[in-house]
């Protein structure tokens, strides 16, 4: 068995815990860090420390945030009446890139998944109901992923949580990806695209 000096071994071990990093990649990154200038490795170390020190979840929407509330929640130019419900903070960045949405968000930090034992009590659904009750929301857009768990979560929120509020509840459309070929579309997606067809 190859054994390196203790600090190298510790670093390889820690890097190997990161998602998508196997033992070989961990070893390569560790030796790369050993070679780079001190200033570069310090910058990486500080970035990690800063991340843990300064970033927490927004108290209102559960997006990642530097303060108590995230930049989107405190932005007065945002439409206060529309709420977009997403699974993870990274979904916000995907929607923001479209430039087509100007409301605020609510991050569930997960999705209902019976096979993993994740029920509605383990994600931020109760907090969503509190927000809708307190913030004069007129529309909630459900932007969970278009897979079985995402659909189940959207159906649960629409039917069991938001129905009593009598507000507009919409779901992200699904259909064919732009630039794709029709012949490769699966039956479910193509069926949805047909159901949601639009008059030209």
């Amino acid at each position: 068995m190859t054994s390196y000096a203790k600090p190298v071994e510790v670093l390889i071990d820690e890097l190997g815990r990161l998602p998508g990093i196997g033992p070989k990649s961990a070893q390569r990154i560790a030796f790369h860090l050993l070679k780079v200038d001190r200033i570069d490795s310090d910058r990486l170390a500080n970035a990690i420390v800063d991340l843990k020190d300064k970033i927490s979840f927004c108290e209102r929407c559960f997006n990642v945030s530097e303060g108590e509330e995230c930049t989107i929640c405190i932005d007065p130019r945002r439409n206060q009446a529309v709420l977009c419900v997403v699974e993870e903070p990274k979904d916000i960045s995907a929607i923001e890139k479209t430039g087509a949405y100007h409301g605020r968000y609510h991050v569930l930090l997960g999705v209902i998944n019976p096979l993993e034992g994740v029920g509605p009590d383990q994600i931020k659904i109760r907090e969503l109901a509190h927000r809708v009750a307190a913030e004069s929301i007129t529309e909630v857009i459900l932007c969970t992923n278009p897979n079985l768990e995402g659909e189940t979560t959207a159906a649960f929120i629409a039917n069991k949580i938001l129905k009593p509020f009598e507000i507009k509840v919409t779901r992200l459309a699904s259909g064919l990806p732009v630039g794709g070929d029709l012949e490769y579309a699966d039956e479910l997606t193509l069926g949805r695209a047909l159901e949601g067809r639009q008059t030209l």
Binding site: P19, I112, L115, G117, G119, E151, F156, Y184, L188, T189
Partner: protein, 240 residues
């Protein structure tokens, strides 16, 4: 590189790396198989919605060192109602989790494959709550732990049967009782299931007996697998 084709049910999947998923399949002739579907999480993935849990597919895979790789998938059966009806999806999840727990890799059981695909099809078609108890009864029979229902497992009395305890092997009379309460109606319905009259049970069982069988089936699954099924908790506590 050995290519093979299989009919399979998608039991579950979990994320792998940036855009891949590990798909757990229950195949007709190879039993449980774990395979990687590369790029499936990308919006332009060729797999699309074909490898969602509960879908029945005809898949082409090649054997890898640890995990097989999915190369092509054709849909055989999509259970569209599971996406609209929370409780049906919850019940489907119980069937999928039970098969996942009951099966081992490379130990095929065509009978279990047939049982699972049939139960999912029926659940999608009619959403009958008795599908889960009927499925559990048949699963236990396949596992070789069919409970004795005709007489008390302790004293052999055939009257005054009041409870079911899988750990003791079947029903018990009022003197030997342990486990969960079982009414005469529920006992007869379960006997019919074991005798192969599932359709009759699905069509004629009263709601109160159906509810009792549902709770008994949960207890039997928990006792058999020696743990609480994760999907039962979510399905019965939150989705109903």
């Amino acid at each position: 590189m050995t290519l093979y084709r299989e009919d399979a049910v998608v039991l579950r999947s979990y994320k792998l790396g940036e855009a891949d998923r590990i798909i757990v399949l229950y195949t007709r002739t190879r039993g449980k198989t774990r395979a990687v579907a590369k790029g499936i999480r990308r919006t332009k993935s060729k797999f699309g919605a074909r490898l969602e849990p509960s879908t029945v597919v005809h898949a082409q895979l090649y054997e890898g060192r640890n995990l097989d790789i999915v190369t092509q998938v054709e849909t055989r059966q999509v259970h569209a109602s599971f996406r609209r009806d929370l409780m049906r999806y919850g019940r489907a999840a119980i069937l999928l989790e039970a098969v996942d727990l009951a099966s081992e890799e490379a130990e095929p059981s065509p009978a279990l494959f047939k049982l699972l695909t049939g139960a999912l099809r029926e659940l999608d078609r009619a959403g009958n709550p008795l599908i889960v108890p009927a499925f559990v009864a048949k699963l236990l029979k396949l596992e070789g732990v069919q409970p004795m229902l005709e007489a008390c497992v302790e004293c052999s009395r055939s009257d005054g049967l009041v409870s079911l305890d899988l750990s003791r092997g079947g029903v018990l009379c009022d003197r030997c009782r342990s486990g969960g309460f079982m009414s005469a109606g529920a006992r007869v319905a379960m006997q019919h299931v074991f005798e192969g009259h599932v359709r009759h049970v699905l069509d004629t069982t009263e709601n109160s007996v159906a509810e009792e069988l549902q709770s008994l089936s949960s207890i039997m699954l928990d006792q058999h697998f020696e743990r609480r099924l994760r999907s039962s908790r979510v399905a019965y506590e939150h989705l109903s």
